[in-house]
Structure formats: C-alpha cells, structure tokens
C-alpha cells in the first residue's frame, strides 16, 4: 500500500504493482477485468464496505474504486492507496489479480467525485456503483451516479424509507438500479409465486423483518396483483416470517446469503428491473 495524491500517481503505482506481481521465472500475471466497481462509502459505512469487499474481488475481477468522502476535512486533498489482490487460479501457476484503489476525498474534493473516478474507469467495461447509505442528491453526487451503468443500493440502510424511495424512483430513467434489500426478498417472492392461485385473493401481508424488505415485498405483491395489500411489520434484523392472510409462507431456500454474495449477484445483472421499479414507484405520491 502506498499513499498517493493524484490520478497520475495512482496510475503509476498500479503499473508498478502489476510489474512487481509478475512471477520472476514465469509468464506475466493474468489480468482479466470484467467491470469497474465503485463504492461510495461515507464514514459510518467503512467497516461494512471493507468487509463486503473481502471475497468479492475474487469472484469479480475488476478495478474496485472505494471512495471515502470526507467533506468536513479541513484539507482540500485527495489521498489514495492502491493494492493488487491476487488469487492463484485453480490448477494454474499464474495468478489473477484485481486492483483495489482506495481514495479519500478530503474537503472540497468530495464535491466532484465523478471527475476523480472517470480517468480511472476501465475502458468499454460496465461500471457498477455501490452507494452506501441514502443516495446522494448533490450535483456532484448525481454526476457520479451518471458515470455508472448500474447503481446498487441497500434500502435497509436508509433512515427515511419513503422519502428515499421517491428520490430513487426519479433515477430509474437515468440508471439501472439494484437494491440488495429487494434481492433478499427473492426466496419469499418465489415462495409466494409458487402459492398461485391460492395467493390471488391475499389482502394482508405480515412480515417479521427489516422495514425495507417488508415494504418491498408488500408493494411487489400489490403491484403484481393490481390492488393494495396491507402490511403489518414486526421489525427484525432479517426476514424471519412472512404470512399471507395469516398463512405462513415457506421459502424454497433458507440459506442466508452473505453481503458479498448479495452484492456479487447484483454485479452479474445488466438492464433494468422493471418489476422492482414498479414496486418502488407505487410508493411515490402520484401512485399512492
């Protein structure tokens, strides 16, 4: 790891690292990239974001750019570290490497993150932006979202769900969106779909789980059935129970997926999820 203060220094450091990682007596290190993965990580999410990255880079060889905004920092500076995380490929003597760039955006530098990121994007490959916490609304943050092909959020990280969903719905025509809370509901959506046609007349859903997960499940059911399905929510850390009109729903899969797994799945997706968008849009004032 090294401390760098400009994009040029970052690029040079990456080149040096790549050369250093070449095996002394063999061929060059394999460098296969499938995307640029950007993570916008405000201070309170640093630990969670770093934890999620473990295991992710191995599954998605990419250039990962972790942006740590520090708008309150007195300095107007960019501080970066670069790292090459290499994994020995099964049955291979060569290593496959992913680049991880951590950039601390201090002071005014945090207001225009897109201009920092754009020179570092891998040409012609998709850009995924994982946004920790509520999605940014400033002009600079909107520009960063504009750089991405897919915005990945976890609405369970939001303090004010309704307001955030309304704002997110306004972005749907600009960028494809993944919501990890929505991904977590997949086994329950599959289970409810499997109950068709018995589930056709359901009018009330009871969910013991995170508010975001429960809300999305209820809005999904409402938009799919074309009528309102009420939600009774018992807050819990993860979905523990779903009842449709008092009848327990059993998911086909009960294994809890890790944060890395859930994000990893979203990085395999391209295009818009119109079913999710409809569920979220139904929360906007025009729809309610």
């Amino acid at each position: 790891m090294s401390e760098l203060s400009s994009i040029r220094e970052i690029e040079e450091a990456l080149t040096t690292l790549r050369h250093e990682s070449d095996p002394p007596d063999g061929g060059p290190t394999q460098r296969t990239s499938s995307m640029t993965h950007i993570a916008w990580v405000p201070a309170r999410w640093v630990e969670a974001a770093t934890g999620t990255l473990v295991g992710l880079a191995e599954r998605h060889p990419s250039r990962s750019i972790l942006l740590f905004p520090k708008p309150d920092d007195e300095r107007d500076a960019l501080e970066a570290d670069v790292d090459l995380r290499c994994y020995v490929h099964r049955g291979e003597h060569r290593e496959v490497c992913s680049e991880v760039i951590e950039i601390h955006l201090c002071g005014a530098r945090s207001s225009s993150p897109a201009s920092v990121v754009e020179p570092l994007l891998l040409a012609d490959l998709p850009v995924f932006l994982r946004w920790r916490g509520p999605v940014g609304r400033s002009e600079g943050e909107r520009k960063l979202i504009g750089v991405a092909d897919r915005l990945v959020v976890d609405s369970s990280e939001w303090p004010d769900l309704e307001d955030e969903y309304v704002y997110l719905a306004g972005l749907f025509d600009e960028v494809a969106v993944s919501d990890i809370a929505w991904a977590r509901t997949l086994p329950w959506r599959e289970a409810l779909a499997a109950l068709w046609p018995d589930v056709k007349e359901v009018s009330a859903l009871r969910v013991a789980g995170p508010e975001a997960d429960g809300t999305l499940l209820a809005r999904w059911l409402s938009t799919r059935l074309g009528r309102n399905v009420s939600l009774t929510l018992d807050p819990a850390g993860e979905i523990e129970l779903v009842e449709a009109d008092g009848v327990p729903v059993t998911p086909t899969r009960r294994d809890r997926e890790s944060a890395s797994d859930l994000l990893s799945e979203q990085l395999d997706l391209f295009g818009r999820d119109t079913v999710y968008e409809a569920a979220v849009r139904s929360l906007t004032p025009a729809s309610v």
Binding site: Q30, R59, Y87, H89, V96, A193, W196, L225, V275
Partner: protein, 505 residues
C-alpha cells in the same frame, strides 16, 4: 406452456429468474460401485444439491453387483464426495442427499434382482414423492446395456416419465451401434434416450458456440477464406490406468476420436443453428459429420507408446502395462487430416490428434488463420511474421487466447507473437461446474441438446470404421513413439507434407 403465458396466468412470476429445477424424480445408477459413480456422478449430485438445483422430491438408487448395504454405500459415497467434490463438504447437504439414497446389490440379469430394483423404486416413490419419474443412468460395460434396457423396457412404470442416460462407448463399430440403437429404440423413444459425451458438458466446449455465434468479429472470418487450417488436440499424459481390458478392445480411435474429438470438430465447423434447441444444434452437427470426407490411409497416423519419461519419471511402454498383450497392436495415438466437404470449409484441413502418454494433458482447438498477405516491414526473415492463431483451451486451463504479432519496444522493427488471454477462471471466478453436473441436470430437465442423437452416433461410427478399415491390412512397427513425446514421427510428417506443423505446446 411458454413463460409469457405462465406470467400472464401468474403475474407474480414476472421478473423472477426461473431456476432450472427439474420435476420430482428418482435417479437409478447401474454400475453404482464403479469408478465413474465415485469420481464423477456422486460429486456432481452433491454439487447440484448444494446449489439447490435438484428437485424437491428426489431420490437415488445405486445398483451394482458388489455386496454392500445401503449404509455402506452411503458411507462410500460420502467419502467419494469429500475426495472428488469441487465444493466444501457440508454435512447437512450430504445428510439430506444420503437420506433419500438406497442401494440394491444385484445382478440385473436375474429376475429377483430386477424385481428388487423396481420394488425399491416404488418404495422411493411413496416415501419421497418422486411420482414415478425415472432417470436410469447406465454406467455399465457395453455388454450389460442390452440386458438392462430390455428388462427396464418391460417394467416401465405406469405413471411418470422415463429417461435413459447411456455412457460411452456406444457400440464398437457402426454395426454394433446400429444394433444398440435398435435395441434401445425398441423400448424407449429417441426423446427418452440421452447418450452422454461428457465433453459436451464442459463449459469451454459450450463457450465455443458462444465465441462463434455471439461475437460478430469471428463468424465472418470463420471459413476457408481466412482460416488456413484447424488443429484439434486431445492429449493425455496418463497411460491406461489399469483399464487394459477396455483399452485393448477400444484403442485411441474408439476411446477418443469417435466421440470427443468428432464432437469438438463438429462444434468448430458447424453452421449457426437457427436456435439453441436440441434438434437445431444436433441437425447442424450431423450435417458436418455427413460432410466429412473419409481420409485415405496416408492421412491417418496411428501409434503406440513405448517406454519413456513423464514428468521426470520413467514409465513403461503400452505393451508392458498390466493386462496388455506383449504383441498388442492397439493404437494409443491417432492423428488424421480430415476435410469437411462443404461451402464453408472446402480444402481447409482439420488436423486431429489424440494420444496417451503424451508430454502433457491438454485439449485445445486451434484455429490458425492465413498469414497477412503482404508484410510492409523490413524483417530479417519472413518467418518472423507468424499467422494469428485462436486457441480454445478446453482443459486444463479453460479459456481462449489469440496470438497476435506485436512490435518489440525499442529501435528497429522486431516483431514477436504475443498471446491475448481470456482465462475462464480469471473473468468468472465462480468455479466452473463439472460437465456431469450440467448433463445430469439437463437430463432431469428433459433437455437433450448436449447429448448425442442416434444418427449422430451412427455417422461418427461410419467415419471411424472407414478410417480404420485399412488397418486390418498392415502391421506398423509398434511401439513407434516414446512415452513423453508428441507421437510418432509420421504425425509430424502428416503436417510437414502440407508445409505446416503442429502447434508448440
């Protein structure tokens, strides 16, 4: 019902990625005590169970002559999964799979044996709700297939579907393949028969179709105008590994050329299918087989390895292997020049070679393009400009590499060939599924796209029979290559005569 129709009926299905989960069924493995079951089938079933790809209602019945109890069989398979599985071992997943596993020790030719198998399957239907749906996996020697198929045909279950997976070798020549087809078709429909060639289940083999038909840059140059020739190599560093009884009868041509190699040739040479349905894909492959020109004796080279060195270790020659006749004339190496007589490939040779005890294990398809017509550079030697080669690595390092010429940095104009590599595991580090996982799942789903159709097998055998017919008349001086080398000198001469050479490995 189509997915659109299903979604219209059930609006909750829209947007849900439909996982390929088969209908309830019981899988019966004949030859359950064998090596294939331990090394491949059970590890594959465990991998499918771990990924929740098996049906909710599922059961396994192992059938073999070896005397053992169900508990012994489960313990043996548990060990096999631990040793040969590609995933971490999870006791809960295994316990669930083992719980619905049974074993019946029997010689299937005996009436009581047949009845005990059927009785066990009926019990599994009742206990696990497998609904009379049956997959029979025939991992048995060819001689046993006819008996089993006949008995199964006579005991078809009144309800549910039946599918039959038949392992290679499917016959030993055209006549026996026809007889086997006729025997099976007497009791089963073609749509119920899944002739397995595990090469087709390999991700990289399927990726060959994607490479060709999903990339706009390759297909326009994938023809005689731009391709100089194609080389297909299936090399093994292993010997016969105690399979003398089988190998003495089969040899390299029946073991590898008739099935794996011709499949690789077909997917390299076939026209784009109109869709990826089983019939469309297999129709195109059959067209290639029909277009294959029978090679003359000068275009086929056979060899047998003598003593030599593999990875620094001295290894015996084929005739010194246990169970092999000291004067055996079985070939352990075959190379051939084949032509696909059609508009796309006329006069473009497809060189194939396969052998045992070659220097390394490797399966590749190399598409060698024609040289640049006029190099404008002043070079010391015209040989410095090498043709572009697209290498599709099937195993062991799955991926694709393209050899291109690049300028060596510095003064002057020195040109060197460099490889642009796409390493499968480097871009998609999810762990490639084993071929058997894909194929067993496809069979349970009733999708025969990656299985061999009756007419395909017969076309393969017709070519092989014609290739080896002249072998009855001459006796080459075997052994004619040392273990650890790339086959007999005649193999190199086959290409040198055309001004070409085998790729360097």
């Amino acid at each position: 019902m189509t997915q659109v129709a299903e979604n219209a009926e059930n609006p909750l299905l829209e947007g849900l990625r439909r996982r390929r989960t088969p209908e309830p069924c019981a899988l019966t493995i004949f030859g359950a005590s064998g090596d294939l079951t331990q090394r491949k089938l059970f590890p594959a079933l465990y991998a499918l169970a771990l990924r929740r790809l098996l049906p909710e209602s599922f059961a396994i019945l192992g059938v073999a002559r070896s005397e053992m109890s169900t508990d012994d069989f489960r313990a043996s398979m548990e060990q096999a999964v631990k040793e040969h599985g590609r995933d971490e071992f999870r006791q809960d997943v295994w316990d669930q799979l083992a719980e619905s596993t049974r074993y019946v020790s029997t010689d299937f030719a005996d009436d009581p044996g047949e009845d005990s198998v059927i009785a066990c399957l009926n019990e599994l239907d009742e206990t696990y709700g497998t609904a009379g749906n049956r997959v029979y996996y025939l991992a048995v020697p060819p001689a046993a297939i006819k008996t089993i198929v006949t008995e199964l045909g006579e005991r078809r279950h009144a309800t549910g579907w039946t599918r039959l997976i038949v392992e290679k070798p499917f016959g030993h020549d055209l006549e026996s393949a026809k007889q086997l087809n006729a025997c099976i078709l007497e009791h089963f429909e073609e749509s119920e028969i899944f002739r397995i060639d595990h090469y087709l289940g390999k991700e990289t083999v399927q990726n060959m179709l994607v490479l060709r038909f999903a990339n706009g840059i390759f297909e326009p140059i994938w023809n005689r105008q731009f391709v100089d020739h194609v080389q297909i190599t299936v090399a093994e560093s292993l010997g016969i590994e105690g399979r003398a009884a089988f190998y003495e009868k089969a040899g390299a041509v029946r073991d590898i050329v008739q099935n794996h190699m011709l499949q690789l040739l077909c997917i390299s040479a076939m026209e784009p299918p109109i869709d990826f349905t089983a019939e469309s894909v297999r129709n195109e492959k059959v067209k290639v087989l029909k277009a294959l020109h029978t090679p003359g004796p000068k275009h086929v080279v056979r060899g047998q390895y003598g003593p030599g060195y593999i990875e620094g270790e001295e290894v015996p020659g084929y005739r010194e292997e246990e169970g092999v006749a000291p004067d055996s004339m079985t070939e352990t190496f075959v190379a051939a020049k084949l032509y696909v007589d059609n508009w796309r490939w006329a006069d473009t040779p497809f060189y194939i070679r396969t052998g045992k005890r070659l220097p390394r294990r490797e399966t590749t398809i190399a598409i060698q393009f024609k040289r640049a017509p006029h190099p404008p550079f002043q070079l010391d030697s015209a040989d410095e400009l090498r043709p572009n080669v697209l290498n599709v690595h099937i195993q062991p390092d799955e991926g694709v590499s393209l050899g291109i010429s690049a300028k060596v940095p510095g003064q002057g104009m020195t040109i060197r060939t460099v490889n642009m590599d796409f390493l499968y595991g480097g871009a998609f580090r999810t762990g490639l599924p084993e071929a058997y996982e894909r194929l067993i799942l496809d069979c349970m789903l009733g999708d025969p796209t990656l299985f061999t159709r009756a007419d395909e097998v017969e076309e393969q055998w017709a070519l092989v029979d014609a290739m080896i017919a002249p072998w009855k008349r001459d006796r080459p001086g075997f052994p004619n290559y040392a273990a650890g080398t790339w086959g007999p000198p005649a193999s190199d001469e086959l290409l040198h005569r055309d001004g070409r050479s085998w790729r360097r490995h």
